[in-house]
């Protein structure tokens, strides 16, 4: 389903839950009284995500990594001396 705000969905959507199991959202299982994401969904590749979600995950990931890196040094040097001014 195209979404003008969030882009084209990527990957495969989780299957709809059977009508009789409507009390649990699709992709959620009851494991000995604990609700958790169905482990079977982890075998789905690529995972279902919109452009917005992919961008959000990638951006958040990079922000986190650079944030951690700043705890350890003021800057990261490039592999070649001639690139040091960049």
């Amino acid at each position: 389903m195209p979404d003008e705000d969030h882009g084209e969905p990527r990957g495969t959507a989780p299957p709809e839950a059977p009508a009789g199991d409507r009390e649990l959202p699709a992709g959620v299982i009851d494991h000995d009284g604990h609700y958790e994401v169905d482990p079977a969904l982890m075998s789905v590749y690529p995972q279902f995500a919109t452009d917005f979600e992919v961008d959000r995950i990638v951006t958040g990931r990079l922000e986190y990594l650079y944030w951690v890196q700043r705890h350890f040094a003021d800057r990261v040097l490039p592999p070649r001396a001639e690139d040091s001014s960049q």
């Binding site: 494991h31 958790e36 482990p39 079977a40 982890m42 075998s43 990079l62 990594l65 650079y66 951690v68 890196q69 705890h71 350890f72 040094a73 003021d74 800057r75 990261v76 040097l77 490039p78 592999p79 070649r80 001396a81 040091s84």
Partner: protein
């Protein structure tokens, strides 16, 4: 001599409430159960049996002294617990009793920019400590995989190892002195001789190390004075790919012996680790099959020194046949070195993706023995995986282990995924049998069971006396002398033997 323990009775609860108030005495099932857990593989089927009877949350040294004196008088087991992020089980009770959760003891007491020390209540997280120190231009360099979540007192309790240890040393090198509440409630200041900020002394015995890595069996640290370093101006990480494990193994030597003072660590990934990454890590999926091993290096220091180190490391990579894996992968995979600890994990069981938790062995092994240990550990792991669907082999890392030097011995890690939800007594038994076989290989190679986590878990602790020999007998004597009633984390490290007739 036989020591018997008592349960937590009404008298004890009333006294603890007098010391701490009702809010900081935790008796709820949730509060107790959560303090039975550690991130090391955990026998959930035994969860309730391993929970403490209650937990307390002290905020001052005086409160810890009062709690320990009470426990010692009433013979109640007491278990110090810091972040409980360790990959051993030191922070988990074996005999119920009281968990002393120290997480509220997290104040910075002094930053000394003249003598370059920081004195803290030790239950502060290293990441938070470094954010506090950043405006002073100084830095505490302890960098475990658990850096974003673990706390200094847990690092003291385990005598932890740092990813940057070849440049900055490990926990034992960077804790200058400690204040410790002993099992009898006495308060001890211990360091390198007498001065709280003295880094080296030849006066008396070197007792500080006794209180680094004891897994909560000898006391509770309530204050620590730590080393400070200039904050690094620059970092340079580089990842090089090799076409075989043997090529990567050979390449480690020129990197490790490069005579670079800024070299913080050298890490070898074996072919099984590369296969695992190519299977489940998007950064590695595009890498060709010819990539069978990786050597990662990182340097820290002033910009001029790191720039010079960069040029030499890149040259060594080329001369040893390494293929530089690129700036993006090198920079970001090094930056994500803590995520293997902190992120949710999954593994494969019979080709199916399932939830798995992470276990890692962490033996200390000399360079010459690395190929032998690698071959044997994989043989053992693969044999158990063939028989049990709950395990997965995520490959091996080899990290420089020698403080301030890149050569000699290495922290050898095999990562085993464990499907904890499926653990039962039979698969738990298989797990501990696998651990025992892996541990025996470390000893056969002349190594040490643990370079970082400690060795208190079932499947390895049985072999600690074999590794330590006469040192274990001395441990028993020291335990009985310092903890006459065996209240401090009883049941760990086989130290109950100190209280058996003829023991200690």
């Amino acid at each position: 001599m036989t020591v018997t323990h008592e349960g937590v009775n009404r008298e004890a609860v009333a006294e603890l409430v007098d010391i701490l108030g009702t809010e900081r005495v935790i008796v709820t099932p949730q509060g107790r159960l959560v303090r039975a857990m550690v991130p090391a593989p955990f026998p959930f089927h035994r969860w309730a049996a391993e929970a403490p009877e209650l937990a307390v949350l002290p905020e001052t040294t005086e409160e810890v002294v009062a709690i320990v004196k009470l426990a010692n008088r009433l013979r109640i087991p007491i278990v110090p617990r810091a972040g409980a992020t360790g990959l051993n089980d030191g922070a988990k009770p074996n005999r119920g009793g009281i968990v002393v959760d120290t997480k509220r003891m997290n104040k910075v007491l002094e930053v000394d920019t003249t003598d370059w020390t920081v004195t803290i209540q030790p239950s502060i997280n290293m990441l938070k400590l470094n954010e506090y120190l950043a405006p002073y231009g100084v830095w505490y360099p302890d960098d475990p995989a658990s850096y974003p979540v673990s706390i200094v007192s847990g690092r003291i309790g385990t005598g932890g190892w740092s990813l940057l240890g070849s440049r900055y040393g490990h926990v034992r090198d960077n804790v200058i002195s400690l204040e410790v509440v002993l099992p009898t409630g006495e308060l001890l200041e211990v360091g390198q001789g007498g001065g709280r900020k003295i880094r080296h002394s030849s006066t008396g015995y070197r007792l500080k190390d006794l209180f680094l890595g004891h897994q909560g069996t000898l006391g509770i640290a309530t204050q620590a004075t730590l080393e400070l370093y200039p904050r690094p101006e620059a970092e340079f990480p580089a990842f090089f790919g090799y076409e075989s494990f043997e090529a990567g193994y050979r390449a480690m030597q020129p990197f490790c012996r490069s005579n670079l003072a800024t070299l913080a660590g050298v890490i070898l990934f074996d072919e099984r680790k590369v296969q695992y990454l190519r299977r489940d890590d998007e950064a590695y999926i595009p890498e060709p099959e010819s990539l069978q091993a990786i050597v990662a290096v990182a340097a820290y220091g002033s910009e001029g020194e790191v720039a010079a180190a960069r040029d030499r490391l890149m040259r060594i990579g080329a001369e040893t046949g390494g293929r530089y894996l690129g700036e993006e992968l090198s920079e970001l995979d090094w930056a994500s070195r803590h995520d293997r600890y902190a992120t949710p994990l999954h593994g494969r069981s019979r080709g199916r993706a399932v939830h798995m938790s992470w276990h890692c062995e962490d033996a200390a092994i000399t360079y010459s023995q690395l190929p032998f240990v690698k071959q044997r550990w994989h043989e053992i792991a693969d044999r158990y995986i063939a028989e049990h669907e709950v395990f997965d082999n995520w490959g091996m890392f080899f990290y420089t282990n020698n403080a301030y030097k890149g050569w000699g011995d290495f922290l050898v890690e095999i990562d085993i995924g464990i499907w904890e939800q499926r653990l039962d007594e039979a698969s738990w038994r298989a797990w501990t049998d696998m651990k025992r076989e892996i541990t025996q290989v470390s000893l056969d190679a002349g190594g040490s069971i643990s370079a970082c986590h400690g060795a208190t878990r079932e499947g390895e602790v049985e072999l600690v006396p074999a590794e330590l020999g006469g040192q274990f007998d001395l441990m028993l004597k020291l335990k009985r002398m310092l903890d006459p009633n065996n209240i401090m984390n009883p049941g760990k490290y086989l130290l109950d033997q100190a209280y058996e007739d003829g023991g200690g």
